[in-house]
Symmetry: none
DNA sequence: CATGAATGAGGATTCATTCAT
DNA sequence: TATGAATGAATCCTCATTCAT
């Protein structure tokens, strides 16, 4: 038995894909993340990446056959990591068995808090994913697959479960409910970290308000 | 006196920036919109735009000094148009005087429906704005200015007004309330037209659900 | 009616493919021929070609999408031109009707002399063809097609005709005869212009000897 | 005293340059021969050679200082081996003393048959020599030296001898005679193994025809 | 106004070669 | 001896922009 705090923390470290990486390679990835995030994949030049990584341009291509492969090597693991909480086999069982009493609200709170921390620690990477998804079918594909195979099914079960319990309104379809929740959560993070990162956010309060909003809307 | 239906319709046609445009220029803009939306500004080549427009490469540069000027000539008016409803002097007065009885919900409904139609008719253009805003400070600036000077003040007044009336919960700050509403509305449209345009949407219902969600959240 | 001298001269100028060519383009082709011949296609750099042509490197790619296209635009017409004498409809008829009295020897003499002049005037180009054929299937294909469809059939008719007349030995198959003749003629030219261009050749005598050799071998 | 059969067989194994070669080195040479023959020296990359040889890139440069040295280490021995029959001191003496009765024809036959076997067993290597000679002065030099110092003198003596005997026509200069013979023989092999290796050759007959052609020409 | 040839800087990528392990 | 990561010059090619017609 594990308390949910720990559970979700666990789920983050899904893959250690940073193994077998030379120091130069690590510097390349770091530089690439920065520059891709700053100017976008298409406008980033491998020569600039090499310069910032303190590496010869050729070194990039020794490790990544193409510039695109470099992008994907950065972006692919992100998708999985972002959906990580939904990967754990135990996740949904935990929810139902040990913590059902706490209800959907508590589950939501944990989830959003956890993903909030994740996003906070991976802003440039997520910027890249958001930007480049639009133009790279491979990324869309990967995202779609993870979402429809891993995230959606579990999310659906959750929503159905709490709808049956009468905790969630059931005049919204499951899909609609999920869409609204995800929109609100993701929207918060995008606004918080990407659109207006410089606004003087009171994160704790804003997080709580967001959860309340999802719960009750804005009407009194 | 004007009924709100007409009011909002009016607000759409703010600027006729399609004046004094040669047919070739129009074809260039059309082609540019398509290609910028398809592959992004950085990956779009002026030669491809010229080809699709059925124009010589030089012709583009006769009308737009640089490729970036072409982008801005496309993007700039969009920002104003998207915020159009908030531009009309009469807008807020209308709200307060003639139609206060209908309440925030009705106002919201009109606004969202109207912007929904607008987005529906300008998907590629909005794709471009969303994508390129990240990398072009000029666009961010323009957006920020319009938002803080035009949209935000009026939105604030509205929210304050309805909070005072007790129609909106006031444990949320005005800013937070606005953020949540805009997030939900924009999130819907982005999901609807950009992320999942091929999903079999029941637009009317989804629109209504979104409004209800803003109002009441998802809890029963 | 045309005397065979003129006939063969005519056949040389098959296509004027140098039309619609800008002066820069002409200089590019000239430079490319020189450099391809000097160092081979693979070792020739487009930047060097541009330099020698007095043109920006980009200009090359405005006219030829790829370096290979530049090569083919040079090589392709050569193949046809080299086989030119066999293209004329009237060629073989001329041989049979008006000049049969002169026999195979005279025909051979005219042919070899004519091709000798052609080769003499196109040494670098032929060097390129010989070298690059080995590595470019497109060139092999083109050569094969021209040879099997145009050259071989007419050559066969000629040899058969003179074998029937008893002028040529018929213990050699037609194919073998053709191979031996072409080998000897081509071999002469390759030796003369490519292998040992600096040897003090007495061209007229050597040409005549080659013809005699084909006729009588080297035994007394 | 040695019968000529054996003599010529002997001449083949002139140098055992395969000594002191590590297994890796042998694999490198084998891979290099294949790849040089397939795509030409300039288009062959050391990394591809290393890969096909199952060796690290660095290993190639441990044995051969440069890519070119690798080429020369492959090509140089070929030149000597191809001219091998003319190297043996005893060769010409054999011809004159023991076997003069058999005449030039028999000598030619032996020579051509022997070289035919050699070429047959070394097609890729000869392809490389033919291709690269054009661009590498070192190879030309080596070839020229071997040819003028070893092959030509002996060949000249032979031809002079048989001209004096009245067996060969003497209205052809010695040089011309040699050129014609070599052209015909080499031309056959190039056609046989390089230009048209897939043609259904009747080697024995074609070889014999070639010899007859050299002897008697093609006229009846 | 419109054209399209020309430009040259810059892009991604390749490759022979070096060197620390 | 063998490795393979690292190099950086060189390669082919693209592209925004200019300008003479």
């Amino acid at each position: 038995m594990m308390d949910p705090q720990k559970l979700l923390q666990e789920l983050l470290k899904i893959s250690d894909d940073d193994k077998d990486i030379t120091p130069k390679q690590a510097k390349i990835i770091q530089a690439a993340i920065e520059i891709f995030a700053e100017k976008g994949y298409a406008s980033a030049s491998t020569s600039e990446i090499a310069k910032r990584a303190g590496v010869a341009e050729g070194t990039i291509f020794r490790h990544y056959k193409t510039k695109k492969e470099l992008l994907l090597s950065i972006v692919s693991p992100m998708i999985i990591k972002f959906a990580a909480p939904f990967f754990a086999e135990t996740f949904i069982r935990q929810v139902f068995k040990d913590h059902e009493d706490k209800g959907f609200e508590e589950l939501l709170r944990k989830l959003i808090q956890n993903r909030y921390e994740f996003v906070k620690n991976n802003v440039p990477l997520l910027k890249i994913v958001l930007q480049e998804m639009a133009f790279h079918p491979e990324i869309q594909q990967a995202y779609k697959q993870v979402f429809t195979e891993k995230v959606l099914p579990k999310f659906k079960k959750m929503v159905e479960y709490y709808q049956d319990k009468g905790e969630l309104r059931n005049d919204f379809s499951v899909d609609t409910t999920i869409r609204l929740v995800i929109n609100t959560a993701v929207g918060f993070m995008v606004t918080r970290f990407i659109v207006m990162p410089d606004y003087p956010w009171d994160d704790e309060k804003e997080l709580e308000n967001t959860i309340q909003y999802i719960k009750d809307g804005i009407f009194s």
